[in-house]
Symmetry: C2
């Protein structure tokens, strides 16, 4: 498979490292040989239709901060040109998320599909802004479209429902889908410390961003629940339709009272047909959604299996590469590889 990587931040580099480390495993176990023929970052691009030496490229990009410094690298806004001109099977869009416009990922993805290239993305923006459009475009263009890494990081949430629980009707999806808020609530619950104190420490540890609004106000969770609703419940939901509350007003006393009654408080996203919601909710201790630390978890309520839950790491470049690589293997298999 000839691959173009658009976006070479933590995820793009993490995936590249994994592609190098696992080249022989992928060949041996899946008959999959990957060749990264172009890498685009915010400063420019580098192309080698014979396949870039990712090890060398990673070294240069980490030292100089861009792939432009690599031999043959070119400066400029070159993503669309590369997507158009370079022959490839799959385009990875791993650019930063913009949940208002979906850009630049949205344009990359549409262009790639129109060029007949399969698309894998981790980018919530395009999916939140234009899920149905992208889903239809992929079908019209006859290309595969995968976005496992956009929800749940390493947890294959979308694939679990679409591929393995396909005989079920999904009544409801509930998820702990944001590691930062889960970390904060877990520490509040263990230490009885107030929200503001734990948030400050989370920032110092790099677990919360400097501006943590998207996380603590539940917007990131709302994006993910919108994607799941559209992808798995066949909805055409918009982000603004999600009824949303964050965790800033959760008090340690409330968590303590919950614990005394056998519960904990988690920021939960809930999708069912006609109703999307994010907010702090009571979860029984011992339930799979009562996961601690930065873990994520999703519970499906189903007509046959009743309840299936899956838990894992919702972020991290290596962890997320499990999903990014899983999508590539899945496309390879779908194409008969």
């Amino acid at each position: 498979m000839r691959v173009i990587l658009v976006g070479f931040g933590n995820l793009g580099r993490g995936l590249s490292r994994v592609l190098v480390q696992k080249a022989s495993f992928l060949h041996r176990s899946h008959g999959l040989i990957t060749r990264v023929v172009a890498v685009v970052d915010e400063f420019g691009s580098v192309v080698d239709e014979k396949g870039l030496n990712l090890n060398e490229l990673l070294k240069v990009a980490e030292k100089k901060g861009t792939v432009v410094a690599y031999k043959g690298g070119k400066r400029g806004k070159l993503a669309l040109k590369v997507i158009d001109d370079v022959e490839a099977d799959v385009v990875y869009d791993l650019t930063p998320t913009n949940i208002k416009t979906g850009e630049p990922g949205l344009t990359h993805i549409k262009r790639a599909m129109r060029e007949g290239k399969h698309v894998i993305t981790s980018n919530k923006g395009p999916l939140v802004v234009a899920f149905r459009e992208l889903d239809s475009l992929a079908k019209r263009c006859g290309v595969e479209f995968r976005y496992s890494a956009s929800v749940g990081g390493a947890i294959p949430v979308v694939g679990l429902a679409k591929k393995l629980l396909a005989g079920n009707e999904i009544h409801e999806i509930r998820g702990v889908l944001n590691g930062t808020t889960n970390y904060i609530l877990t520490r509040m619950s263990k230490e009885g410390a107030p929200f503001e104190v734990v948030l400050r420490e989370a920032k110092e540890l790099g677990i919360a961003e400097k501006d943590p609004t998207l996380d603590i106000e539940g917007i990131d969770t709302a994006c993910k629940i919108t994607i799941l609703a559209n992808s798995l419940l066949g909805m055409n939901a918009r982000l603004k339709e999600v009824k949303r509350a964050g965790i800033a007003r959760v008090r340690p006393e409330a968590i303590r009272l919950a614990q005394e009654a056998g519960y904990t408080i988690k920021l939960i996203g809930i999708a069912k047909r006609g109703s999307l919601e994010v907010g702090p909710k009571l979860v029984p201790l011992g339930h799979p959604l009562a996961v601690g630390g930065t873990l994520n978890a999703v519970t499906f309520k189903l007509d046959l299996a009743r309840e299936i839950s899956i838990t894992g790491f919702g972020a991290g470049p290596k962890e997320t590469s499990s999903s990014l690589l899983g999508d590539l293997i899945d496309i390879h298999r779908t194409l008969g590889g």
Copy 2:
């Protein structure tokens, strides 16, 4: 898809009910039309190449205790004759498990494969006795072979690893794979009651069988861990290689001490390359394997995703039909449906 059901006990009937109820869902969502062309039970068989009326067949079989009583039903040991003679795409073997001989499922499965029919089974026996042989035979015969329901009931354990975590190397598999022992340990832990008392009550409730040896001595768990090791770790393990301890010697005091230290005790099956084990183990409270009641759970330790856990119902005819039907949809898709 033309389907033969061999075995018409709880699972066969449960699946049949689901096939009736979900006929339009399966057609609409997956383009799958199923036609059950033959049903075999321990007393005989009934065949209709145009497709049996499952609703009527279920009524008769439940009233009379066998499909022989249905119009056109024939008495006798007819499984192999039906597998040979009736044109069909898929044979379900849903016969009772015999972990020593694998029979009668083993013979059914081999015959179906040699006849060029795809096979779906819930039967641990053939998989424990002859996994590698069946896996190779399926490949040689060019047929699909699925056994999701054999481990974890409704939980798609095998598919999760094979399809969705395919980019990972699996370092270890740990599972709570037996609902009866999990129920007993959960009640011992909640009530401080001794093993013998809880076991007696579990028998009265029908949660434990009259002869609960296979469950409480960890043999059922050992079977499942053997299947997972062979299927997912590429091993050629035999049941007798599993180091095994049951739960009869777990004392309420041990559970109480564990709880004081933040743990619970579960009967855990563990598979890693070169080492298979079943026994009571400490599990941290809050870990996905610390599930209560009759729930099952499996944790994969992986090189990329680190740890992914999945939880759900490990038994029940309706729940298990989620896996049996999922396998059928998967074969339909694999064949390009």
